[in-house]
Symmetry: C2
Subunit: 245 residues, 2 copies
């Protein structure tokens, strides 16, 4: 390794850092779409961003099923409806009525659906997957987040429909049994990017304060040295308090 090249800190200029944080903080789970088509070049850049996600052992276990065909999307929508009714059985009122009143998908309005899958069998003995086999699915999820952030910066909304049962979804899309459908995503131009997550503005659930989620030098007990000012810094690092974010 060339040490003379390595002493530079390769952080991004402020304007670029700000853009990355903007994508992170303005990304939303979108359920209200316009039906306008997504240009090929925009969709292509979003899919390539996913393909350049990290993966355990460089396994790249993902496939992308892109769906425009409305007959197929109608089947996914019907599967969603069954699961929505089933899910409502486990809420008491008034939560049940609130649940059923929420718009939770835009399968038919959004012009493209993307099912991102994970193929457990890709590559031989996968480097780094020996202790935790599920790291292939973890990789697939990281790729999905790449897709989500790329979409945001392209002005494309993404809505993750998380209640489609894998067995039934496999049948609808013809997915082989050894391949797991990880995410069914709706992609399209949103009517708007919500200012807050929809479940927060709908009063369903609030954002958690971050402090109780932080554990220093172990889950509990006294932290070692070097942490005196970190929690203060954390409180000042929210998007509303940070410059240039």
């Amino acid at each position: 390794m060339d040490e003379s090249k390595s002493v530079e800190i390769e952080n991004f200029p402020d304007s670029e850092r700000k853009a990355v944080y903007r994508a992170i903080y303005e990304r939303r789970d979108i359920r209200h779409f316009r039906t306008d088509p997504i240009p090929d070049d925009v969709l292509a850049r979003i899919i390539q961003a996913a393909h350049h996600g990290p993966s355990v052992g460089f396994m790249q276990p993902w496939d992308f099923i892109l769906i425009k065909n409305p007959q197929i999307r109608e089947q996914a929508k019907a599967l969603f409806e069954r699961e929505r009714q089933a899910a409502s059985c486990f809420y008491d009122e008034p939560r049940r009525s609130q649940y059923l009143s929420l718009k939770l998908e835009g399968i038919m309005e959004a012009p493209v659906s993307v099912c991102v899958t994970c193929d457990y069998t890709r590559a031989d003995e996968v480097l780094g997957r020996n202790a935790i086999p599920e790291t292939d699915v973890y990789s697939t999820c990281c790729a999905i987040q790449n897709l989500w952030l790329a979409a945001r910066c392209e002005g494309i909304g993404v809505g993750w429909v998380s209640i489609l049962r894998p067995r039934q979804l496999r049948n609808i899309l013809g997915i082989p049994a050894h391949v797991l459908p990880v995410a069914y995503l709706c992609l399209g131009y949103p009517t708007q990017f919500y200012e807050q997550p929809m479940l927060a503005s709908a009063g369903w659930r609030e954002r958690q304060p971050v402090d109780p989620l932080i554990h220093l030098d172990g889950w509990s007990g006294e932290p070692g040295s070097g942490w005196d000012n970190f929690l203060d810094a954390l409180g000042n690092a929210t998007p509303s308090k940070t410059e240039p974010i």
Copy 2:
């Protein structure tokens, strides 16, 4: 919804889109670190980026265990060494020697380790998790990718040590039994951001061409209408071929 506000396509300006794609394409899994400390404000911004990841039902199932204490990191390193030896048993030569020659972690050099966990029990009946309980882990992985990209734009390298067994890692960090350690990450300034993924430049495994991973309107069979030009667009959307990326 205010329709007059909603007709604008809220995509980012070219310079901001370019910055987001730069983070996506220049992110690397880093194993070669300098020991320089990470400033509190930088680490705080990276953790807040993770906390603003998407989550099923706005569940926010993650916790972050931040570790500077070298005695604790030494225990993680020892656990890594056991698993590395165990993993090598499943390769034949010359793959085994190559595996053992690769530097796969920087636990002791990188000044901070971050264990990101998933608490299955957070929130009551989680909206959207009924069909696929693992969506809480999926959410945690999306948060991790936020962390990874934020770190890249701050000039901080992230290395995911994916072979630490959850049971033993729980013991080392004092993690309760109902909480899953999803990722053990090393964070620090890298000696360099590799131009290519380390496993590619080491000749371990190549990046897959994207075309065979794309399925149109179903896993197999003929696609419906609207896909005539998409595969061409995909071929032109790689970072080296796209402007302004």
